[in-house]
């Protein structure tokens, strides 16, 4: 139970690489904060600084208002789930989970009670006598979770804990992690580069790019009001269509059907906000388009079209009956359009 406050945190690695360039995040008690961003943007580095595994070059990290910069990982009272799980290979599942409690001098019967209780929650009870190498990937993942939970730490840290699982298991574990985190009420920081995981888990979503925070806040707010083209194309799948405009014209010279706000040089709309019609609607954006590809995925289909001099994606529900080469009109309502300036920042 703790708040985590990062103030202008920087990390310069000994080689001179500046991996984190001034990040400030305030995580309230019991909240789950998800750090998301492309590979190499400094997510792991930031998490490892919160864990105390990397020194903080500049700025402060505070738990419950107390600066912990100089406190080592051993005393920070955090628990971490690693991407490769980092289970102790020579110890049984039971000992893997008991290790942290033993190191802190917890009485034996209490250790036993807590380990068994945690094992029950995670459905690991029948595996306590096995060694990590005798477990499946999913079971190992649960043990890694168990090892973190059993300690009842101040803060949970997760570094891409689900990326080694198959899609189905990942979906299950995602729900479980969310429920566990809610039930235990432990402040958590979760690193992922999977935007679906980020959207579904986060209380606070932090989108990072090149060592900086691009946008931070409620995940749905970020989805609806991306602050930059980077966020717009990173959050949401498939990503937002971004069309450059100059003087009311697209790159192929065709005119824009509506007027752009002042300073806007990029028009964006999400595939799911667009629609295809035979006749142009009276309001909103309309684009003549030519179908180049159809991707049916069951409940919905993605149409890949050539429009305004580039490739755009439109989501249509159900099965798309469009032929390749068919001409149609793509439309999007005004309130679902996003405008960005020449630096990629949101306009309006």
């Amino acid at each position: 139970m703790a708040t985590v406050d990062l103030k202008d945190v920087r990390k310069v690695y000994p080689g001179g690489v500046e991996a984190v360039k001034g990040v400030s995040i305030a995580i309230p008690d019991k909240a789950l904060c998800v750090l998301v961003g492309p590979s190499g943007c400094g997510k792991s580095t930031l998490l490892r600084m919160i864990a105390g595994l990397e020194t903080i070059s500049d700025g402060t990290c505070a738990f419950d208002g107390k600066v912990v910069n100089t406190i080592g990982p051993t005393e920070r009272d955090i628990a971490m789930v690693f991407q490769n799980y980092a289970l102790y290979p020579h110890m049984k599942v039971y000992d893997n989970m008991a290790y942290g409690l033993r190191n802190r001098g917890t009485p034996k019967d209490e250790i036993d009670r807590r380990v068994r209780e945690t094992a029950k929650i995670l459905e690991l009870s029948h595996l306590l006598d096995r060694r990590p190498r005798e477990l499946s990937g999913g079971q190992r993942q649960r043990v890694a979770m168990g090892r973190a939970i059993v300690r009842q730490p101040k803060v949970f840290l997760f570094d891409e804990p689900l990326s080694n699982l198959d899609a189905k298991l990942r979906g299950q574990m995602r729900v479980e992690i969310k429920n566990l985190q809610r039930a235990l009420g432990v402040t958590s920081v979760y690193v992922t580069h999977d935007q679906l995981e980020a959207m579904t888990l986060a209380d606070i979503l932090v989108v990072m790019n090149a060592g900086k925070v691009e946008q931070m806040g409620n995940p749905l707010d970020i989805y609806e009001q991306p602050a930059s083209t980077f966020v717009a194309s990173f959050i949401g799948a498939p990503p937002m269509n971004l069309l450059p405009i100059t003087n009311g014209k697209f790159t192929d010279g065709s005119a824009l059907s509506i007027t752009a706000p002042a300073g806007a040089t990029i028009l964006g709309f999400r595939p799911e906000d667009a629609d295809v019609t035979e006749s142009a609607p009276k309001q909103g954006l309309t684009l003549p388009a030519k179908v180049e590809g159809v991707e049916p995925v069951g409940a919905e289909s993605f149409l890949y079209c050539a429009a305004a001099g580039q490739r755009i994606v439109v989501r249509v529900s159900g099965r798309a009956l469009h032929e390749i080469g068919a001409k149609l009109t793509v439309s999007a309502p005004l309130e679902k359009l996003h405008w960005f300036d020449k630096d990629g920042k949101r306009v309006g």
Partner: protein, 294 residues
């Protein structure tokens, strides 16, 4: 599984392994069988004729108090050498593992002793600890320790153990460094987060995971101490003073080549062979069980 290679020719496979077989036969099985045969012969005092005496030589050797002493000496010498060289190597390896960047320099420096011939390594230590001219002997005397390995048996033992261990440290060091680097860094980090301080981490995580390396080195070092230390003992103490540093191998040499009691010497080498086979078997059977591989 890779498909089995089938040779169309029946003789070719045998020809291909023939060189290896020939070497093994000529340099191992033939001398071993010669030793076995010789160990059952007894020569008359003038070396003119020999007679087949079955196991009489073995009875005689095993009843000899000098031989029992030699077993004693060998046990102490081997255990001390293996332990000393492995402990020192491990400490150095742990330190080197931490100093990430100068690691290569460390490695190069610490491999040097291994390139030195045993007899020279022995001489070096002999000089250092020579009662009259050795600088370390001087330091010891200055500290009030009456140092004279040429007269005092236990000091002679300390000297040969140090000389023998010193040579093996660099070898052990390389293996320990490799072993340490094979341990995933995240395990150490996980243990740190789990509240284990450095010393605790070493004993509960690093050392158990290093067990395969340690086990391998234990076998190698024991065999080294048994067989490969002849040069050092010969150079430093010559088995003396008295018979304080006369190990089994050294006694084989002494009895066979110095005193020319060939039958006894052969019997001793057969016993030695049996001991080493037994030792290795025991190590693999019992010690390996406690080792966790991955």
């Amino acid at each position: 599984m890779t498909p089995r290679v089938v040779f169309p020719n029946k003789i070719l496979p045998y020809l291909l392994v023939a060189p290896q077989l020939a070497i093994t036969l000529v340099f191992f099985y033939w001398p071993a069988s010669q030793a076995l045969y010789q160990s059952m012969l007894r020569e008359d005092p003038f070396g003119l004729k020999s007679k087949f005496v079955w196991f009489d030589n073995f009875k005689k050797v095993l009843a000899d108090p000098n031989y029992i002493n030699s077993i004693h000496v060998t046990a102490i010498f081997s255990i001390a050498t293996a332990l000393l060289s492995m402990v020192v190597a491990l400490i150095l390896a742990v330190m080197a593992d931490k100093v990430v960047r100068s690691r290569n320099l460390y490695r190069t420096l610490l491999i040097w002793p291994y390139a030195v011939a045993p007899a020279i390594a022995g001489m070096l230590w002999l000089f250092l600890f020579n009662p009259s001219i050795g600088s370390l002997a001087y330091a010891l005397r200055w500290m009030g320790i009456p140092w004279d390995p040429l007269l005092k048996g236990d000091q002679a033992m300390v000297l040969v153990v140090m000389a023998a261990a010193w040579k093996q440290i660099s070898y052990n060091f390389l293996f320990f460094v490799a072993g340490l680097q094979a341990i995933p860094k995240t395990l150490i980090e996980a243990a740190a987060i789990d509240g284990a301080r450095e010393f605790k981490r070493f004993w509960t995580i690093v050392f158990p995971l290093l067990a395969p390396t340690t086990f391998f080195l234990l076998v190698v070092n024991t065999v080294y101490a048994f067989f490969d230390t002849f040069g050092i003992i010969h150079a430093v103490t010559g088995g003396g003073p008295g018979k304080a540093t006369e190990t089994l191998v050294y006694k084989v040499y002494n009895d066979g080549f110095v005193n020319l009691i060939l039958g006894d010497s052969a019997a001793q080498s057969v016993i030695l062979m049996v001991i080493v086979i037994a030792l290795t078997a025991v190590q693999f059977r019992y010690v390996e069980r406690k080792v966790h591989y991955g």
